[in-house]
């Protein structure tokens, strides 16, 4: 594996398989009394978050701590960035303190690529704008594989606000490399422009009709959050209209179960209950939403281990 994890495209199918196998072993540690490994003792990991986050930041922090690394959280709010310091000066200041890894979430797409060019530390993309979120895609694949087995040939539907979703962009890459068949579903206003050629290149299908896709009996349905904070202007007339067209409602949950009794439901969180997902679907037995959170720590431990534990890479 490379020194950084910036995009899901950095990971070959073998890399993904190794990370998921490692994550499975790490997952066992969560069930132990002593949740601690000495593996990253003496390493320093900085979580640099310029955007709000609950699960990603806390799971990176826990993952680092369980492996005995020193982890420190810095948020955009309350750091010198709010005094006008540039991103470059902020990361150079931090890495001057001899850190081994920077976990970065930033509102600008491509921010992590930029930072990787400035520093010697490993850079891990924890979400950059509407670009990518590779560890989320890994934990989604891990969670689905735990329930469904090998994802080769499995059908996954990704539904919702595709335009603003970095989760979807990373997931089509990772799921594609694992051999899954992906269909993405969105209203025309939330379908990224130019998706046609992209779908051909990455080998996924697009649809504007959620009911048709559900009737085809997908093995997994991943609902995406409607990202109102990134929306300026009218992407859909009313919330109710969105739910009727693209929400996983009680009726659609029933249709999904009828079409494929084994189908599972995912959501990267945080959920807008009642908008893109109904409480019945979120809390259904087939919902893996809390399993995804639990897997988040194990998958991030695997990523930190493979990026940081081995011999020093000559820069």
């Amino acid at each position: 594996m490379r020194r950084h994890l910036l995009s899901s495209a950095d990971l070959s199918r073998d890399d993904i398989a190794m990370l998921l196998a490692t994550a499975a072993e790490m997952h066992d540690i969560q069930r132990r009394d002593v949740k601690k490994l000495p593996t990253l003792r003496g390493r320093t990991i900085i979580n640099l978050f310029f955007e709000d986050s609950t699960r990603t930041r806390s799971s990176f922090e826990i993952a680092g701590k369980w492996m005995s690394a020193d982890t420190i959280n810095i948020t955009g709010k309350g750091s010198s960035t709010s005094k006008g310091e540039s991103l470059r000066d902020t990361v150079l200041t931090i890495t001057a303190m001899a850190v081994d890894a920077l976990v970065i979430r930033h509102m600008a797409s491509g921010a992590c690529h930029q930072v990787a060019g400035w520093v010697d530390a490993s850079v891990i993309n924890a979400g950059d704008g509407t670009h990518e979120h590779p560890t989320q895609a890994l934990l989604d694949a891990y969670t689905m594989a735990q329930r469904l087995g090998d994802l080769q040939g499995r059908h996954v539907a990704i539904v919702g606000d595709l335009t603003h979703s970095r989760v979807f962009r990373s997931n089509v890459i990772t799921l594609g490399r694992l051999g899954a068949r992906v269909t993405v579903v969105a209203p025309p206003t939330l379908m990224p422009s130019g998706i046609g050629s992209w779908a051909v290149a990455d080998g996924f299908a697009t649809s504007g009709n959620l009911d048709e896709v559900i009737a085809s009996g997908p093995d997994a349905v991943m609902m995406l959050r409607v990202q109102r904070e990134r929306m300026s202007g009218g992407f859909f007339p009313t919330a109710r209209e969105y739910t009727v067209g693209y929400g996983l409602t009680r009726e659609r949950l029933r249709a999904l179960t009828a079409a494929n009794g084994e189908a599972v439901i995912c959501h990267p969180g945080p959920m807008n209950r009642g908008l893109e997902i109904s409480p019945e679907a979120a809390d259904a037995a087939s919902s893996l939403i809390l399993d995804q959170v639990s897997a988040g720590v194990a998958v991030r431990m695997a990523v930190l281990y493979h990026l940081l534990a081995g011999e020093e890479v000559a820069a």
Partner: protein, 201 residues
């Protein structure tokens, strides 16, 4: 602990020091020693260190069952995340740790590995074990003790003491792990370049 990623061709000058029958006899003797020392098999947990230690642990558990007539808990204990040389070699994925239900608290744990050399693997295994619980006692059974300890560690049960020089290579092959050949060979070897201490050989 020999791993599966080694050069599969044994050097031409390799000399066999234990045959398949020798290995079977050594394990049978170790099983009897464990039963005698422990006055039975109650509270025994046999944990193999991957890869070949796990195969040996399962064979040992079967023999203990034969000798005493009651099933013995058997599992595996991976030490990858506890190694002291992680920074000196490419990252390896962890191997399975499978602790039998019942855990290790208050039990007599017998660690099983194929080759005892520097002792660093066993040091790591003891650390890994302490995160899983507090056994009443820990014992060590190895198929081959080739000397050259770098830590104050010794085995309680040894299949064969094999005097070696640092440069010689000891290879253990077991059916079930290494296709269809079995035996222990020793070869005058080039130590792998650049490795300060082969923690696991």
């Amino acid at each position: 602990m020999a791993r599966a990623d080694e050069d599969p061709q044994a050097p031409v000058s390799a000399r066999t020091v234990m045959s398949e029958d020798d290995i079977a006899r050594a394990l049978r003797r170790i099983a009897h020693e464990i039963v005698e020392h422990n006055k039975g098999t109650s509270d025994l947990v046999v944990l193999g260190i991957p890869t070949r230690g796990v195969e040996l642990a399962h064979r040992l558990a079967r023999l203990l069952h034969e000798v005493e007539g009651s099933a013995v808990a058997v599992g595996s204990l991976d030490i990858t995340m506890h190694r002291d040389d992680l920074r000196h070699q490419p990252t390896r994925g962890p191997l399975p740790t499978r602790i039998p239900t019942g855990g290790v608290d208050g039990k007599i744990v017998v660690l099983v590995d194929d080759v005892l050399y520097s002792g660093r693997t066993i040091r790591a295994a003891l650390d890994a074990l302490s995160d899983l619980g507090r056994p009443r006692a820990v014992r060590l059974a190895v198929l081959v003790d080739r000397g050259h300890r770098e830590l104050p560690i010794r085995a309680d049960h040894v299949g064969k003491n094999l005097p070696t020089s640092h440069s010689e290579r000891v290879r253990v092959r077991l059916r079930g792990v290494d296709a269809d050949s079995e035996g222990v060979t020793i070869a005058p070897g080039q130590t792998r370049a650049g490795r300060p201490s082969e923690a696991s050989r």
